[in-house]
């Protein structure tokens, strides 16, 4: 008789946002993640000068609402700053 083992759920993979671990339990729309990081975008969702890449692929602004970030993804949220 095989001993029953309790069902285990896999541990949530580590999501990285801008190089830092980010607590993400469930998938989140890109737009919501950006709003959490960028006060200007949280205040005005038409704010420009911001770009996002998920797993090294740029996500166009038009797809921010419909694209979700899954736990374990590598996300970059960047903006234009003085320099160059």
């Amino acid at each position: 008789m095989t001993p029953s083992t309790p069902a285990r759920t896999a541990p949530t993979p580590t999501t990285l946002v801008n190089g830092e671990p980010y607590a993400l339990a469930d998938a989140l729309p890109v737009a919501d993640l950006v709003a959490r990081l960028v006060p200007a975008f949280a205040a005005d969702r038409t704010a420009r000068g911001i770009a996002v890449a998920v797993d090294d692929a740029v996500v166009p602004r038009s797809l921010w609402e419909s694209t979700t970030v899954r736990p374990g993804a590598r996300v970059e949220v960047v903006g234009a700053v003085q320099g160059g």
Partner: protein, 253 residues
């Protein structure tokens, strides 16, 4: 004129307007991942400033050490700034800030293939400049001297050689310290100058921006006006005959 180095957005605004530039560079940097975005690296308010002034932003892959990072940054810049123009910078180390030629060519090829208008920041090697043009860059931007050094044009003969042979615009980019450097670059045949530190970190940025604007115009006019050749010996500019000579015995005879 670039936006790097200004002490405040207000100072930057005044200098940009005084310079008369229609195009300015911006870097792409991560927003801090803390709640509320506190402690963002770099002031992200520059975007709103440029929109208000009607100055086009040229995203720069500043600070990238690899072709891969530069390509991703360029794509992010395209998305953030809404332009397919990119200043391509791939540096070899963070001390000299000199371009990495091999990575630069690799990134340039990739971005040209993706349809970017690539403006590469390069060194003053005429061969590398030609290679960048060969892979489809829209311009070449050789440094005068290291970024932020203010040392001017370290190798004028190389810059002149690059300008003479290039089939694309040549923009002197990096190392400009004062107005005469910008004028010299234009006299050497450059089509323009890109500078930031020389203005943003000057004691009076507005005045230096105005000086740079005038210097670029002056250098351009001088380059077009056909300068006199350099001579080993003097050549009088006044007639040699009929000179007054006090107490001239020859005239008395």
């Amino acid at each position: 004129m670039g936006t790097g180095g200004a002490s405040s957005l207000l100072a930057l605004e005044d200098a940009l307007v005084a310079s008369g530039t229609e195009l300015t560079t911006v870097a792409l940097r991560r927003f801090a991942p803390s709640a509320g975005g506190a402690g963002t690296s770099g002031d992200h308010g520059v975007w709103a400033l440029l929109e208000r002034l009607g100055i086009r932003a040229l995203p720069n892959t500043a600070g990238c050490f690899t072709a891969r990072d530069a390509v991703l940054t360029a794509r992010l810049g395209h998305e953030a700034c809404g332009t397919d123009w990119v200043k391509l910078e791939v540096i070899a180390d963070d001390v000299t800030l000199l371009p990495d030629p091999v990575a630069l060519i690799e990134a340039a090829e990739t971005l040209v293939r993706e349809g970017f208008v690539v403006l590469p920041y390069t060194n003053d090697d005429p061969v590398l400049a030609r290679r960048l043009e060969d892979v489809g860059c829209a311009a070449v931007m050789p440094l005068g001297s290291p970024i932020g050094s203010g040392l001017g044009v370290a190798n004028p003969r190389n810059i002149e050689a690059i300008a003479a042979r290039a089939g694309v615009p040549v923009i002197l980019d990096a190392g400009v310290g004062t107005a005469s450097d910008a004028a010299l670059a234009m006299e050497l045949g450059c089509d323009g100058v890109l500078l930031a530190t020389a203005v943003t970190r000057a004691t009076d940025p507005v005045r230096m921006a105005r000086a740079m604007r005038l210097a670029v115009q002056a250098g351009h006019d001088a380059a077009q006006a056909g300068r006199v050749p350099r001579r080993e010996q003097a050549l009088a500019s006044s007639p040699v005959d009929g000179v007054v000579r006090a107490g001239n015995l020859d005239l008395a005879l």
